[in-house]
């Protein structure tokens, strides 16, 4: 991990006008070049616009941004809306700062610019224009909607219109089913037609990878079409909720393997669904278990069975820092262990920004997940 040098907040807010901000930035780089500790390399490979809920969330996003900047040097603009009760003569404020890190290979520290922008609610619709005026030309614009409540669709759509990618995190809505449905719907609808991403999908990559590996071998590949049962277990920090990741995982299996949904039902912390594959019926069961402290949050196991001929399991053991994948076919078993991945917000963002195009597999999985969520919330919609 690179050595992160704490953010240098330059103090007083500056007027929100592009020329003033650019002037401040120029002054900053000049000062850094003259008086900074060691050489400074200013780097930028993309623009990252982040919309957060409030000032506190903006502050918590700064260290995340520092990590992201190590991998994707960027000009970032963090924006939030001030609540009405905070009165101020000006409609918008801006602060500029820099994120610096020392590269692996040594050499000059790499610094990226960060601009924080706050707007009063009366000026919220001016925010997109203010943000977009601050982007570095000719570099991709990635919009991270970190505020999980999609309460201001108009604002989001206006900001998305000039972006190349919109990233949300459906996991943030885990205790708010109404909002989760809204987020899934938003992802399905694709505002402004741009590519959409969900950090929650990225959390599934290791699971998908290990599940797919079971069927790479010529000796086991046929079983992928003979899956008859899938068991998913997950610890639940919010009992009674339906974890979006389990829906996405089910959606991925169904869309990749061409399963057609027959039925879906839910009871408390369990849900089940029946599907028709090319070789017969498939049942997918989800069981939620109460979250224990020290447990790794998230999915704890996925088991796929092809009748009684083969069983494939991926699981994370409590206290372990690795995934185990076990396949049992015809009496012989194979185990494969790999380290658990870092799944913090910064790592997930880094991954999403590395693959910024349309993710068609995600789209297909999402469409199924959204339909399942609708059924669970409104059983009559089946």
């Amino acid at each position: 991990m690179n050595n992160i040098i704490p953010t240098a907040n330059l103090g007083t807010p500056v007027e929100v006008n592009v020329a003033a901000i650019e002037k401040e930035l120029r002054a900053f780089w000049k000062t850094a070049g003259e008086t900074g500790q060691g050489a400074v390399l200013r780097a930028c490979s993309c623009n990252l616009l982040a919309f957060v809920q409030n000032r506190e969330k903006a502050a918590t996003f700064v260290p995340i941004l520092a990590k992201v900047s190590e991998w994707h040097p960027n000009r970032s603009v963090i924006a939030y809306i001030e609540p009405d009760e905070i009165s101020d003569a000006r409609d918008m404020h801006a602060w500029i700062s820099a994120q610096c890190s020392a590269p692996f290979s040594g050499g000059p520290q790499v610094c990226c610019e960060a601009i924080t922008l706050s707007a009063h609610s009366n000026a919220r619709l001016n925010l997109p224009d203010a943000l977009l005026a601050l982007v570095v030309p000719d570099l991709p614009v990635y919009l991270y909607w970190r505020s999980f409540r999609i309460t201001d669709k108009e604002l989001m759509e206006r900001m998305a219109r000039s972006s190349n990618l919109l990233i949300v995190d459906s996991h943030q809505s885990r205790e708010d089913p109404q909002n989760r449905l809204q987020i899934l719907q938003l992802l399905v609808d694709q505002p402004a037609g741009i590519a959409m991403r969900d950090l929650n999908w990225s959390r599934l990559t290791a699971w998908r990878d290990l599940i797919a590996q079971f069927f790479d071998s010529p000796a086991t590949s046929r079983y992928v079409y003979e899956i008859s049962e899938v068991e998913i277990t997950r610890n639940l920090s919010a009992p009674g909720s339906i974890p979006t990741r389990t829906l996405l995982l089910t959606g991925w299996l169904a869309s990749s393997l061409g399963w057609q949904r027959i039925s879906a039902e839910r009871s408390g912390d369990r849900w089940s669904s029946r599907w028709m594959s090319g070789t017969g019926e498939v049942r997918v069961n989800f069981t939620g278990t109460e979250y224990q402290s020290r447990q790794v949050p998230g999915i704890s196991s996925v088991t796929l069975r092809a009748g009684d001929k083969a069983e494939f399991s991926v699981f994370v053991e409590q206290g372990s820092h690795s995934f185990s994948a076990i396949s049992s076919v015809g009496g012989s078993g194979l185990i494969h262990s790999v380290p658990e991945e870092a799944l913090d917000e910064a790592s997930l963002l880094i991954r999403e920004l590395s693959q910024a195009g349309e993710d068609v597999v995600f789209k297909a999985a999402l469409a199924e997940a959204y339909e399942l969520e609708k059924v669970f919330r409104h059983p009559s919609s089946l």
Partner: protein, 510 residues
């Protein structure tokens, strides 16, 4: 068999089918430093599947357990990549050891049996990779014995795919390369043969193709109308160390020019392939190597320089001269430095020189390709004569500090019209912040997935040896003149400077 439907979508990385990799030379230096650390890292990153099996073969008797312990120590200490117990244990389950003399035909039956067992217990599906990490003198016997024991045929008798990885050097001159090629082709099909040149697995080397063919602005000026010349430097700041005896048989020409440097030249000079398929890329590389003008004995004298390092200072410490190194004959004529001027006879590159220089005990460790552009046809800034001689240079830094630099001329701030060259830098380390994967990781994975794009094809290998043969002949037979010496820690002999100076050019100061 239909492709795994759960592998659709670009986010899912390539994962090869389970296979067994037999490493001939399982306790050797290459296995220790490169192969095992690379395979372990691939396993850690979930890039190779459960069931992947390694069978290390070497002469020393050893149990499986002892071999696994040795490999783990290599991963932990030598490669600076400490293993965690859980991952290591899963990886180690697939490691076997077989003590054997490769020259003994009888052991191949045992190897075949061991491989068949892995097909059952580890479901490797009959997929095999034979990795020749031994001394090149062992290659012929190993290959013939694999053939004689029916261990080459794919998709028969329960076998899946079968591939063989051959480490350089692939021969030591044109004749021996052709002889080895004959032995290889008598047993394996060309599509089964993966000749490894680890330079091609380096990120920046692959980026040459992306840079050239994914950017619209460079290809139109990538020709004799705009480029003045190309310089390729592969410099090392260490001597032969304890490998004097090996180096005596190799020299800079065989060690670097015939393979690494000519591969770099081919990537810079090749025509755009119709697509990024292995056949298309390798065909264009072969074509450009074939277009390099052959050298007559007179050309060898005129367009090349060879030299040996003498005593000097590197990093402030006095170092030995080559003739004082262990294992080196006191009257050795083996070159530790070579500089050659190449011409490519095609429409794109006619009369544009490609200079290659490589050597040991030079001023610094650096590998770089520099595209030196022509100067402006008419220079209007007459009041700034100091920059009149500057060319734009596009430099690909292969190692260390991988990246690309474009040198441009800019005006100095101030009232006067003064100019100065400045560099626009792209550095992998700072732009992407990534820890670059080792070349072996990439190449091993490519072989497992059956992608030979970054491996040498036999026609390229033979073309490269054909080009080198006049140098081997002339330098090998010339006993009349003394071999130029250069001080360790310098940039090579003065004759190398003269090679460019007589054409009003100079080597870049790196």
């Amino acid at each position: 068999m239909e492709a795994n439907p759960l592998r659709h979508g670009y986010r899912m990385r390539r994962s090869p089918e389970p296979s067994s990799m037999v490493i001939f030379g399982g306790s050797g230096d290459l296995t220790r430093r490169k192969l095992i650390p690379a395979l372990y890292r691939l396993s850690q990153q979930r890039m190779i599947p459960a069931g992947f099996t390694i069978i290390g073969m070497a002469r020393t008797p050893m149990s499986n357990e002892a071999y696994r312990d040795r490999l783990r120590a290599w991963v932990d200490k030598d490669a600076g990549n400490p293993s965690d117990s859980e991952t290591w244990n899963a990886f180690a389950q697939g490691i076997q050891y077989m003590a054997a003399d490769y020259h003994n035909p009888l052991i191949y039956g045992e190897l075949k049996k061991l491989l068949a067992e892995q097909d059952v217990t580890r479901r490797t599906g009959g997929n095999r990779i034979y990795y020749l990490a031994t001394s090149p003198s062992d290659y012929p016997d190993i290959i013939r014995n694999l053939g004689a024991n029916g261990m080459r045929q794919e998709y028969t008798d329960g076998a899946g795919w079968i591939r063989i990885i051959i480490e350089k050097p692939f021969g030591r001159d044109l004749k021996s390369a052709q002889e080895l090629s004959e032995i290889v082709s008598s047993v394996f099909g060309e599509e089964q043969v993966y000749r490894i040149d680890h330079y091609l697995g380096k990120e920046t080397v692959q980026n040459i193709l992306v840079f050239r063919f994914a950017n619209g602005i460079f290809e139109p000026i990538w020709n004799r109308q705009h480029i003045d010349h190309v310089q390729i430097t592969a410099a090392e700041n260490i001597g032969v160390g304890g490998r004097g005896a090996y180096y005596e048989e190799a020299g800079a020409l065989r060690d670097m020019v015939q393979n690494h440097a000519l591969q770099l030249l081919a990537l810079v000079a090749m025509e755009p392939p119709p697509d990024f398929s292995p056949h298309a890329v390798r065909s264009e590389k072969a074509k450009v190597l074939h277009s390099i003008r052959a050298f007559t004995p007179e050309d060898v004298h005129r367009f090349s320089v060879r030299a040996q390092y003498a005593r000097g200072l590197i990093g402030g410490k006095e170092t030995r001269g080559y003739l004082e190194e262990q294992g080196v004959a006191p009257d050795s004529r083996t070159e530790t430095f070579a500089a050659i001027r190449f011409n490519i006879d095609n429409w794109r590159w006619a009369n544009i020189p490609f200079y290659i220089r490589t050597g040991k005990n030079l001023a610094k460790r650096v590998t770089e390709i520099a595209i030196v552009f022509q100067r402006p046809p008419h220079f209007i800034f007459r009041q700034a004569p100091t920059t009149q001689g500057e060319s734009n240079v596009l430099a690909f830094r292969i190692q260390p500090d991988e990246g690309i630099t474009l040198k441009i001329i800019a005006k100095l701030p101030g009232q006067a019209m003064e100019m100065r060259p400045v560099n626009m830098d792209f550095r992998y380390g700072s732009t992407f912040g990534l820890h670059l994967a080792d070349a072996y990781e990439r190449l091993l994975l490519d072989c497992m997935t059956g992608d030979p794009t970054l491996f040498d094809r036999i026609d390229s290998v033979e073309s490269a040896w054909s080009l080198m043969q006049p140098f081997l002949d002339v330098w090998g037979s010339d006993r009349s003149s003394a071999i130029p010496q250069y001080a360790s820690g310098s940039w090579g002999p003065v004759q190398a400077e003269e090679l460019l100076a007589r054409e009003n050019r100079s080597w870049r100061l790196l």
